[in-house]
Symmetry: C2
Subunit: 213 residues, 2 copies
DNA sequence: TATTTTACTGAACACCGTTTATATTTTTGC
DNA sequence: GCAAAAATATAAACGGTGTTCAGTAAAATA
């Protein structure tokens, strides 16, 4: 009898519908409007029902977190087309910034909020697989750059961390609204993205200077 | 008759007591435990009374925001003792990081939350004075470095923005919990601050390389 | 002293995440 | 086919949030 199987399918389908609603709420109305009650209304069930399919709200947020990572990875797919490591590294940075600017809500969910990453620490054996993979890709690229004569004497691990931190800093200050409220940016009437991109330009210059001659 | 004057004093005193309670709640129990009701309980008044002294919660948060900036400025007082600009720049970075690590809650209030900066945009003529002043100090230092032969060809404005972004990125990733959950940090069992400081070290190396020979 | 102004609060509104007892439906075992 | 058991769904409640408003008590004014 396939009753058990069907029930399992139903359960998965319901989980799917809950996540779908959460996802839509997130994209259409922002992080703060994802509430158990909003989700419940959207799927036309009572709030309590959600708890039959998810332990708590964190579990739902975590699912969105993973969705976000999938979306981000799509922005990196094209990078294999750049054979020269340093060029690829710069394109990685551009792709990262493009992702952050086109999906600021998703970016802040992935990298600026404490909740989701704390959930990972407590419930998933402290393993942040998506983060590990992304960082590893960055580090590999940095090591290839080293083979090309870039970054002599620099530790790939630490340099990768610096690169990530720097680009994250640019994106985070932009998304939180801090970057565009220091005076020069206001005065010159620069757009958000102008400031961000010119900051990134300086960074590429700086990195480009780190090469054996 | 000094009635009016006394009443004004009383009003200010009450505002002071409210802010004091908010401040203590913030430091002792964290940002999320600053609630109008908690504050009201602490000063032994009803929640509604708070609204006779502050327009809304944002106004209280903004006051804490300014307190935070004062605290941060204290961490920068000693920098005048470093006459050589580049050295001073590095010490600025160290002071910034020291502030962020010793007062993570305050740091995230100042630079990682959208609410306070949005309040500034809406209510204070879009002028973020504290931010302007701090950034200006950084830029001045960068320009002095240029006179010493550092950063040839780099725009001080853009380079300052990069420096701020990079250090902010290091602090933000640390405080949000992301930095210490990429694999290598976990494996090597490095402390939070080890990763941060080694990342900053690389940054100082990179900056130091940008000098006319 | 009577009136007006000021200071304060209880109760409510509309939310939030989460739990529990209860009711309904579905499946199982006979 | 029917009763027992299991699964599913929910109403209602708990304790929390920011905020508003009508009403009360106290103080200042005339």
């Amino acid at each position: 009898m396939g009753v058990k199987e069907r029930k399992e399918r139903d359960k998965l389908e319901m989980r799917g519908r809950i996540l779908e609603s959460a996802h839509r709420l997130f994209l259409e109305r922002g992080f703060d409007d994802i509430s158990i009650r909003n989700i419940a209304e959207a799927i036309e069930y009572s709030p309590a029902t959600i708890y039959l399919y998810f332990k708590d709200k964190n579990e739902i947020i975590h699912a969105l977190h993973q969705d976000g990572f999938r979306l981000m990875n799509e922005h990196f797919q094209h990078l294999t087309a750049f054979p020269r490591p340093f060029e690829r590294l710069i394109e990685m940075g551009k792709a990262y910034i493009r992702f952050a600017t086109t999906h600021p809500q998703v970016y802040s969910l992935l990298f600026m909020r404490g909740e989701p990453i704390e959930h990972i620490i407590h419930w998933l054996q402290d393993e942040w697989l998506e983060g590990d993979r992304a960082f590893e890709t960055l580090k590999q690229t940095v090591m290839l750059c080293k083979k090309d004569g870039y970054f002599p004497g620099y530790d790939p691990q630490a340099l990768s961390m610096l690169i990530w931190s720097s680009i994250h800093g640019i994106c985070a200050l932009r998304i939180s609204g801090h970057m565009n409220h220091v005076k020069p940016a206001r005065d010159q009437n620069l757009s958000l993205d102008d400031v961000m991109l010119s900051t990134f330009d300086v960074f590429t210059q700086v990195l480009g200077n780190l090469k054996k001659q």
